[in-house]
């Protein structure tokens, strides 16, 4: 009998992925190095810290905030951010009267250049199907209670538009500099599942 170690069996979906990669590499359409680089970038470099920088800038610079709300794609471009899934970025401003929440009911549209790839709950059937119908209940389950006198607006991403929420600047942070504000902004604030 062989003493070789047998790794866990390859699942059907793993086989499909390997077959796709092998085909595209064989055809000279992609290289495995490029695939590795893409994965590395999205696992380590592109994430919600980028969006947090955008938010902090908007909090301290009223002119930037106005540009961000007028043309999100162009304004994040000023900070060197852009690329796939950021071509039509619309920034939604929270106010004391309005709370914005973003969903993609059909799939998983998400503003990659500012938030990275979406968390798994964003792609879940539960979130996609319930966020529009009962946003307050969904938010409550995620730990965010929106007061009754605050209007909740749900925005369904589409092939044309990606949304990001500009959260309210927290009270008591008036003395903080832009860099000190960055770590106060979470991914969930920019999706709108936190307020």
């Amino acid at each position: 009998m062989s003493e070789h170690h047998h790794p866990s069996p390859v699942s059907p979906v793993e086989r499909r992925v390997a077959a796709i990669e092998a085909l595209l590499v064989e055809k000279g359409l992609i290289t495995s190095d490029v695939v590795d680089a893409v994965i590395e970038t999205y696992e380590h470099d592109v994430g919600p810290l980028r969006g947090a920088r955008v938010v902090a800038r908007a909090w301290v610079d009223g002119d930037y905030r106005a540009r961000l709300l007028a043309d999100g794609t162009r304004a994040v471009g000023e900070l060197g951010l852009g690329g796939a899934e950021g071509e039509h970025l619309v920034v939604l401003e929270n106010s004391p009267e309005v709370h914005n929440v973003v969903v993609c009911t059909l799939c998983s549209c998400y503003p990659w250049p500012v938030l990275g790839l979406p968390p798994r709950w964003y792609k879940s059937f539960a979130y996609r199907s319930r966020a529009v119908r009962e946003p307050r209940a969904v938010l409550a389950e995620m730990g965010t209670t929106v007061p009754d006198d605050v209007e909740v607006r749900v925005w369904d991403s589409s092939a044309e538009v990606r949304y990001m929420v500009l959260p309210l600047r927290p009270a008591g942070t008036e003395g903080l500099a832009e860099d000190e504000l960055v770590p106060l902004v979470t991914r969930d604030h920019m999706i709108g599942t936190a307020r």
Partner: protein, 95 residues
Amino acid sequence: MSRMGPGAGTVVPAAADVPPGVPRHNGELVFDAPWESRAFGIAAAYVEASGCGWDRFRAHLVTAIAHLPDDTPYYEAWVTAIEALLADDGLAPPS
């Protein structure tokens, strides 16, 4: 649905203990298994190389998500979408 994030209703406590400067400081690992990241990277590389843009891929992803059972792992729908996109382009992976 799983409970997400710090669960705080205000901004300040949410990330107060997070070291600044780490790109994913309030993210999470986006892939659950190596094949998922592979599927993502392959699609991105192909979309880039073929110049076809993400819209065609997305159309297939929407179709795959709509047709597969609701509890299908997300990236399995992603794989189905890549296969459909390649089929459009006359590239049929061996099954």
